[in-house]
């Protein structure tokens, strides 16, 4: 479904604060896979997601979605295949428009829009039913402004918008990070529900190892722009929080391992 080859991205190339965000990323994500990406801050996990979404242009490498090379396509061109939920609940919806109008935007994701009025009776009814599935009593607030909703409600609606037209790939960018724990759990539940119901190919970036363990079929661990662990379904089943923590601890240790420290450890071990 998603095929990434030799992806490379450097920010501020040539300047003092040059930062290599992605280094030779090679990964294949199959249909119906639900991949979670975890990693330290600045590990490149969000950059990878943005590269898949088309918000960031890699300087090397290719990205294919469903066999089509989309590397040179811009984000809105990829929206035909990809839908996204952002970390910031305010990014995914237009606050000055009604819930129904927002949903309409998503209803036309990747499709041509014509100067006709589509937002009427039957479609509104359909939106109402879909809102009911969020279980947030939003179905009666179709005509309310998006800006009047709480962050969690907005994120839930964003999620609904993302799956309104079944996408080939669903990208979730730390989409519960800005929510309080209770709302986050609610949104995670909805995520699980939608992904399962639609058998979506999903890539979720998260900072919560708990979510990485609970959700999805595969974990990619990133560090310093590389995928350092690719934990497949069978291994993931037995994975514990401690295992993940250990892996991160290892990363941290390796970072602090200076040649001098290594030399001294080497001498002391014998």
């Amino acid at each position: 479904m998603i095929r990434i080859r030799n992806l490379h991205k450097t920010f501020n190339a040539g300047s003092l604060d040059q930062l290599t965000a992605l280094k030779e990323i090679n990964v294949d994500i199959g249909e119906h896979e639900f991949v979670t990406i975890i990693g330290t801050n600045g590990s490149g996990k969000s950059t990878l997601l943005n590269a898949i979404a088309g918000n960031i242009r890699p300087e090397k490498g290719t990205i294919e979605i469903s066999g089509r090379d989309v590397t040179s396509k811009q984000d809105f061109q990829r929206a035909k295949y990809i839908s996204r939920v952002f970390q910031n609940p305010y990014t995914g919806t237009a606050p000055g428009m009604t819930i129904a109008e927002n949903l309409l935007m998503a209803w036309f994701r990747g499709r041509r829009r014509y100067p006709v009025i589509s937002l009427k009776g039957s479609l509104k009814h359909q939106f109402k039913q879909q809102l009911a599935s969020l279980d947030m009593q939003l179905e009666e607030r179709l005509e309310n402004l998006m800006g009047t909703l709480s962050g969690g409600q907005r994120q839930a609606v964003t999620l609904l918008m993302a799956v309104l037209q079944t996408p080939k790939v669903l990208l979730l960018d730390e989409h519960t990070a800005a929510l309080d724990p209770k709302t986050a759990a609610q949104v995670i539940r909805l995520t699980q529900k939608f992904v399962t119901a639609n058998k979506l190919t999903t890539v979720m970036v998260t900072h919560s190892m708990q979510h990485a363990l609970e959700l999805g079929t595969r974990i990619l661990m990133m560090h310093n722009g590389r995928i350092i662990e690719d934990i497949q379904e069978n291994e993931k089943q037995n994975l514990t929080m401690e295992d993940l923590l250990n892996k991160f601890e290892d990363i941290r240790k390796i970072e602090k391992l200076t040649p001098e420290l290594m030399e001294s450890l080497k001498n002391q071990y014998r």
Binding site: D243, D250, R252, K253, I254, K256, L257, P259, L261, M262, L265, K266, N267, Q268, Y269, R270
Partner: protein, 403 residues
């Protein structure tokens, strides 16, 4: 409830104020446990200002009484108000609890069962030690195998040296338990032998300590790639308590060197950790795991082959370590030459156990050591680094013959 701790003769007194009930009893338990962990094991609870005690408090006192007793301490109560006394009386606990009218009424006790004349005290580098002499016999140290093949990870079936538990009293090395090389070859890891009890930590992804308790007829095979054994008795046993300011192993072993009679000596340490620095292999260094280029300590391989501490880990763990120490690295024991680090004066392996209480009585050291071996759950075995800090515990010294 407020708890103020103070000293009365040899006793550590906890002055309690207010109610002891379901809400406050947990705090009391924490205070008592902390005192025990800190080595204050002759505890007196001063009830003068206790206005009320519920059954919850009763339970805590009962538990603490048992725990302290088990680790060679004791719990006494003084100045118990009548209303509270009733609770002890009705519950029947008054029968076995040591209850006195006031602090002055406490019996003047020294460490139970200790013959005062055998105990000596000394100050080294500002640390006060208590020590007693033990056996005067000189122990034997022997090394086996070679670490030559470690760097290249090229150990093979013929490199495995088999011991029976009875062969080694104390020791360390790279070892694994098992009968069939093909079964245990990938399980080699840091190992330690303490009083014939064997603990090894397989160098695998998610290791669990493997161990074999000693009994004279035990026929388990201890398979070493290389290592060091010490057979002998404790010549000196030191006790230290620096809970408030944990000291590094380096410093503590220097003190041990002061009482050791030989230049190279073996040590067995039982201690409460104040931060451990350790290392252990992540992969068994056998031919099958040989890296394609370079050796396992190359920069590119090192992190994948070695687990190491970059800062202190595991505070308040019970650790039991053993190994050899030389007073003067230049004049080190010829037999131990390769087993000691370059310019280093020690090589110790340690078994780390989960936190638990043990007696701080210097007379009961051997018993407690045995009990810990048998009862405590081992978490890992590591190559101990000299930066490791200890809060309190014992260092037992075995004088080693020169050869």
């Amino acid at each position: 409830m407020e708890i103020v701790s103070k000293k009365w003769n040899d006793f550590d007194v906890l002055e309690l104020q207010g109610r002891i009930d379901g809400l406050t009893s947990a705090g009391l338990k924490r205070s008592i446990d902390q005192a025990a962990v800190d080595g204050r094991r002759n505890l007196v609870l001063d009830f003068t200002h206790v206005s009320y005690m519920s059954s919850a408090g009763l339970r805590i006192i009962l538990q603490s009484h048992k725990t302290l007793k088990q680790i060679g301490g004791k719990l006494a109560l003084v100045s118990v108000p009548l209303a509270v006394m009733d609770v002890f009386t009705i519950s029947g606990m008054a029968n076995f609890l040591e209850i006195h009218d006031e602090l002055k009424a406490l019996p003047e006790t020294k460490q139970p069962g200790v013959d005062c004349t055998e105990i000596k005290e000394m100050m080294i580098d500002g640390i006060s030690f208590v020590w007693r002499a033990g056996s005067s016999s000189i122990g034997k140290c022997f090394t086996f195998g070679s670490e030559d093949k470690l760097l290249s990870s090229s150990f093979g079936p013929t490199d495995s040296i088999v011991f029976k538990p009875a062969d080694i009293t104390y020791g360390l090395g790279l070892a694994a338990l098992g009968d069939d090389y093909s079964d245990y070859k990938s399980l080699f890891g840091e190992a330690v032998v303490i009083g014939h009890h064997f603990f090894s930590y397989p160098a695998v992804l998610k290791p669990e300590v493997d161990y074999s308790y000693f009994s004279p007829e035990s026929q388990h095979s201890l398979n070493f790639l290389y290592g060091l054994g010490i057979n002998g008795a404790f010549a000196r046993i030191l006790r230290f308590d620096v809970s408030s300011h944990p000291r590094s192993l380096d410093m503590l072993l220097k003190a041990a060197g002061e009482v050791a009679e030989t230049d190279t000596f073996g040590v067995v340490i039982l201690g409460m950790s104040g931060g451990i620095y350790g290392m252990h292999l992540k992969k068994s260094p056998i031919l099958e795991h040989q890296p394609e280029n370079g050796n396992i300590f190359d920069a590119s391989h090192f992190p994948h082959w070695m687990n190491f501490s970059i800062e202190s880990e595991d505070i308040n763990k019970t650790i039991v370590a053993c190994g050899i120490v030389v007073k003067n690295p230049v004049l080190q024991h010829p037999a131990s030459k390769w087993i000691l680090p370059e310019n280093g004066g020690m090589h110790l392996h340690a078994a780390v156990f989960e936190n638990g209480l043990w007696s701080n009585s210097i007379m009961e050291f051997e018993l407690e050591l045995h009990r810990i071996m048998m009862e405590f759950e081992p978490q890992k075995v590591i190559h101990l680094l000299p930066e490791t800090k200890l809060k309190s515990g014992f260092i037992a010294v075995i004088n080693l013959e020169k050869n």
